[in-house]
């Protein structure tokens, strides 16, 4: 799960770790999340291409889960270690904080904060619509932004949900743009605090930060500095709360938390690309 945090403070740490992760792209490995046939897995994993699950479709035509492509995970033992560390942080730090936030702000207030943050990040989505030459979607995104900013009082209310053509405008970001451009995923990496990203998506994530107007406010001083704290805090808490809920749903009662989160990440990532 992408749990945002104070990005600049962990930036140096991430740069150090990224050296290890990029090395992982070129690592030859037989490790994968597959069962059998082992020979096939070994060959495909070495090629660095996305790999498919073993098939069961001969006996059961409805079983098409063998066709799901997986992002290579050559540094799985390291990722599992980082995942364990993150799980402790979520459990003992983020979860109690989320409870306090939920207690302090009732559901309608939390939804309003989340809506304002999403509305403010309009430039990220529209820039990427244009980079993918989706002019119609960019137009709808702009209509949605203007409507929610005016009739929705600065984005607090998603008035656009009342209009079917604006309710389903697909989400867009830099990672999706990279995917549309045909840039391969690279390997799967679990980052400390931030959670899982493919290497390509992690670079895309940096692009999203650069495109985010809230980020630019953090470079201001005085009035803008105060404003940046006022805007960044809701961004972290609202998104973090949503993602803690998603994380709990995925991992509570999971047989293997790591595999559950990796699979959900891969599937959700693919759906975003196909939209």
């Amino acid at each position: 799960m992408h749990i945002p945090t104070s990005r600049r403070s962990i930036w140096s740490l991430l740069l150090v770790i990224s050296g290890l992760a990029f090395a992982g792209v070129h690592a030859e490995t037989t490790s994968s999340n597959q069962t059998k046939p082992e020979v096939t897995i070994s060959k495909t994993a070495k090629s660095g291409k996305e790999i498919a699950s073993p098939s069961n479709s001969q006996e059961d035509p409805g079983d098409d889960y063998a066709n799901i492509k997986h992002i290579p995970d050559p540094i799985e033992p390291v990722n599992r270690g980082t995942f364990w560390f993150n799980h402790q942080i979520y459990r003992y730090a983020f979860k109690p904080l989320t409870k306090v936030y939920k207690f302090a702000f009732p559901q309608p207030v939390r939804t309003g904060i989340s809506n304002v943050v999403y509305n403010a990040q309009y430039p990220c989505r529209v820039i990427n619509d244009m980079l993918q030459w989706k002019t119609k979607t960019a137009g709808l995104e702009t209509e949605k932004f203007l409507l929610n900013t005016t009739a929705g009082v600065g984005g607090i209310f998603k008035v656009s949900n009342k209009f079917p053509c604006l309710a389903d405008v697909p989400y867009n970001d830099t990672s999706i743009t990279f995917g549309k451009w045909g840039i391969p995923n690279g390997c799967y990496v679990v980052w400390p605090i931030l959670g899982p990203y493919s290497l390509r998506d992690f670079v895309g994530f940096a692009g999203d930060i650069a495109e985010d107007p809230i980020t630019w406010l953090t470079y201001g001083a005085g009035t803008f500095g105060t404003l940046s704290i006022a805007t960044t805090t809701p961004r972290i808490t609202s998104r973090g709360t949503d993602q803690m809920d998603n994380y709990d749903t995925l991992t509570q009662g999971a047989v293997d938390r790591y595999s559950a989160v990796r699979s959900a990440y891969e599937q959700n990532h693919k759906m975003q690309e196909q939209r």
Binding site: P54, Y65, D256, S259, Q267, N268, M271, Q272
Partner: protein, 193 residues
């Protein structure tokens, strides 16, 4: 000309059957969702909700197919007794996860979108639900099993329940075979009870 007529007739028949199948699957799903929503509305306590919601879920969710596909190729290596146990354990895990999401009195507003037939006897019903201030897109994969439409997978925000469990079960099976897989399922089912 005769060929063209025959082809048109066949296409017409097929699309007619497909529409019939879509309607049957959609109606079955709608009736089931209505039943679940009525139970959530009426439930006074969480325990009562969990008890009441199980029977309609057990009717519409095809746990046999879901378990077999979640386990994947390892399924063939289980004895019939182990397959039966795996299905029971998986049922406990799914029901508990599903019911944990509901709060008495708070029910989702579900919007049904046009369904599509992916193969003979298989229909996907996309839905959009508003629940506790958030919007979720979910696709119900349904199959006609001996004349009755049942759910064989639920895909929420692109994440398939069966595919997600399959990746977990693959990982356990790879570590130590069928016994490790079953032990992990027993542990998980006991945790969720």
């Amino acid at each position: 000309m005769k060929k063209l007529l025959l082809t048109s007739l066949l296409i017409g028949l097929f699309t007619g059957f497909a529409h019939g199948a879509n309607d049957a699957a959609e109606n079955r799903l709608k009736a089931s969702v209505d039943e679940v929503v009525a139970i959530v509305k009426q439930a006074k306590t969480r325990d009562a909700l969990i008890t009441d919601i199980k029977p309609p879920l057990e009717k519409i969710l095809n746990f046999g197919v879901m378990t077999r596909r979640s386990i994947g190729p390892a399924w063939k290596q289980l004895t019939p007794a182990q397959q039966q146990e795996a299905t029971k354990l998986f049922t406990v895990m799914i029901l508990r996860t599903y019911t944990a999401k509901f709060t008495p009195g708070e029910f989702p507003q579900v919007e049904f979108k046009p369904s599509s037939s992916t193969a003979p006897g298989r229909v996907e019903v996309p839905t959009s639900a508003m629940y506790k201030g958030s919007r979720y897109d979910a696709v119900y994969r349904m199959e006609d099993q001996s004349g009755s439409w049942t759910i064989t997978d639920v895909v929420i925000e692109g994440v398939s329940l069966v595919a997600d469990y399959r990746s977990q079960f693959d990982s356990e099976f790879k570590q130590g075979g069928t016994e490790t897989l079953l032990s992990a399922m027993r542990r998980s089912a006991a945790e969720t009870k």
